[in-house]
Symmetry: C2
Subunit: 379 residues, 2 copies
């Protein structure tokens, strides 16, 4: 935020300055239908907790399908240049606290931020030691660590990590691992769209994902993961809907005054357009590296990526959204949702019925042809 000190959140400023009916008018337009505060137990913790329920009408034939999602945003617990093993252990300790708090609040599906168990070091373009953070999705120490907790807490855990594919030439991937509530490895999804902008030098480390758009059938609904930069791609969101997703998590790591105005727009638009819940999770804090690097923006070399602005939130298919977590603190956001809302909203608005996929399948196939001629009308 150029020229502005970091501050807690948009919501905190609105709440402080607006009263009564004026606050409610603004809130209704900016956030949609009201969410309900959930009680937060007094548990020891080193992070903020916010908890909401998103109301949903009852049906006659289907019982409510209530699911509690838990979104955890956090800073790195040690300075970025710390030893890899020390950092991993500190991450595990912090994760354990967050998962225990989530369990105390009956969270069913928990998701970490992107590449959660390491500094977001891709800005450095250095391979050492950052590639050492990569782990096997199915058998790595992070997955093994989380499997025990998932079973203990009867909780699905989504763990976005830097993946090392030891079977396929030791390649690296940006992947999200899904562990079910019995502690079993359910599968993984690899990030489909890789940025090449500013300090997001991820294409230096890993390639576009090759796992398609899997939807994971869990005991708490059909979940999918759209990792970070994939939120800018409406087709990526659409593909998860076509495969049946009811909740799509967007574990992210993003900074900057160009990105932040987009943060409240894209995941929420995806929820509206696709009739599912979206869970936007952003890293928080500033990570300072040992060696300087440049950002491709004409500015002098420096040692940090900028401020990850947190602000994690959940958006519902009806366009409502929760307040965001803090822009500066670690935080856990617990939101109770009713998956029945997905079909209710599809029935109401009819976006899927009216979307004319055949027309677009035809167009996309034509666009790819070498002799494609855009439909341009001129005199």
């Amino acid at each position: 935020m150029s020229g502005l000190k970091e501050f807690q959140s948009v919501e905190s400023i609105l709440k402080k300055n607006l009263l009564g009916e004026e606050y409610e008018k603004i809130r209704q337009i900016l956030y949609g239908r009201p969410v309900v505060n959930l009680e937060i137990p007094s548990i020891p913790k080193n992070f903020d907790i916010q908890a909401y329920s998103i109301p949903c009408p009852e049906e006659q034939l289907r019982k409510p399908r209530l699911v509690r999602v838990g979104l955890f945003q956090h800073q790195i617990p040690l300075p970025a240049p710390s030893k890899v093993q020390d950092m991993k252990e500190a991450m595990f300790k912090m994760a354990r606290e967050a998962l225990d708090a989530a369990a105390a609040m009956n969270v069913n599906v928990f998701c970490f931020q992107e590449a959660w168990n390491m500094p977001f070091a891709f800005c450095t373009r250095e391979k050492y030691p950052w590639c050492e953070y990569a782990e096997s999705a199915q058998n790595g120490p992070t997955t093994t660590f989380l499997q025990k907790i998932a079973e203990q807490h009867n909780m699905v855990i989504i763990s976005p990590i830097l993946e090392r594919d030891e079977i396929n030439s030791d390649t690296l991937w940006n992947a999200a691992v899904v562990i079910d509530n019995h502690g079993d490895y359910l599968g993984k999804h690899r990030k489909n769209h890789i940025p090449r902008v500013g300090d997001f030098n991820e294409s230096t480390y890993y390639f576009e994902g090759n796992t398609g758009h899997p939807v994971f059938q869990t005991e708490f609904g059909k979940v999918a993961i759209n990792i970070c930069y994939g939120r800018h791609h409406p087709l990526n969101w659409l593909a998860f809907e076509l495969n049946g997703a009811e909740i799509v998590f967007n574990p992210s790591a993003t900074v900057g005054d160009l990105s932040e105005p987009l943060w409240g727009i894209e995941c929420r638009n995806a929820a509206i357009a696709n009739g599912y819940f979206t869970c936007a999770i952003n890293r928080v804090g500033t990570e300072v590296f040992e060696n300087e690097f440049t950002s491709g923006n004409g500015k002098p070399a420096h040692k940090d990526f900028g401020h990850f602005y947190g602000s994690s939130y959940v958006a519902a298919p009806n366009g409502s959204r929760t307040p965001g977590l803090s822009r500066i603190n670690n935080g856990l956001l617990v939101v109770e949702i009713d998956l029945n809302m997905c079909r209710q909203v599809k029935d109401h608005w009819g976006f899927q019925m009216t979307q004319r996929l055949d027309m677009y399948a035809d167009l996309l196939s034509k666009v790819l042809a070498p002799d494609f001629k855009p439909q341009i009308i001129k005199k």
Copy 2:
């Protein structure tokens, strides 16, 4: 707005209650990079005028391609049950004033709201007299009227009307007519996605459009029109981008507390995802009909569609947006944009380069197959 009196705008409440740095923090996150106020000449008028410029960096090889767009939102000038010819004449008088004001502000491309020259009568499901408002796109009185003004003012005019296709069995369409700045008929686009929700009984009157996704090459840039409900469809927005659009107008008519929280999201998301400018124009006011009708929502029969909340705005490819026009008054929004920003933002973020269209063309073709099996992972 259930339980809340109608009010001017979100922006008016924010400006009234927030000061200095706190206002600027909120503004930056909610609206993106600052827009610049343009001078508004003192001209006689019966509507609000707001005017902004959206800053854009200069390039070395291309000169700025500055274009002024004009968005006009308005109530019907006579009560809805007025005689058709009287209403049309009152509409022409009002339009003339708006177009003259736009010309005084050097507008290059002007766009009206959806079905601008008639009450939004599709809520009634009555065919008479509303079908009488339909006109030939190329030779109807509204097009003829606007052609003279377009030539006089050297202005492209986009005129969304109820179209009568006399050559093809007298069918009706929801169409936007494009008249170039020499007063010539350039072509038309027919609304691709037709709603079936609440009072939006448009499918009673006309069918899904059959004109594809034309982009109109004008002297002031490549423009396209995504009519109303099409803004809920990311593929519709994408198709205009694939055909080269630089500005996409979204002439609309929308009401209600479920719709309004979406209003600031969808057109802005489309600008971000597709690297073009979007111009969201909504009707304003409440239209009361002679006969009562029901809304498919369990509530008693009534005679109005609800409050069209105006709030027209322009969104830029970098995610910035202008303030909205009033929620209750007629208004003209003039915005100066530099079309060079489209390619600049595409180069910066790289969303188009990274969008992997081949993967989605393949998926969409598979989804349509009768034996489509979603990509679901379960134990």
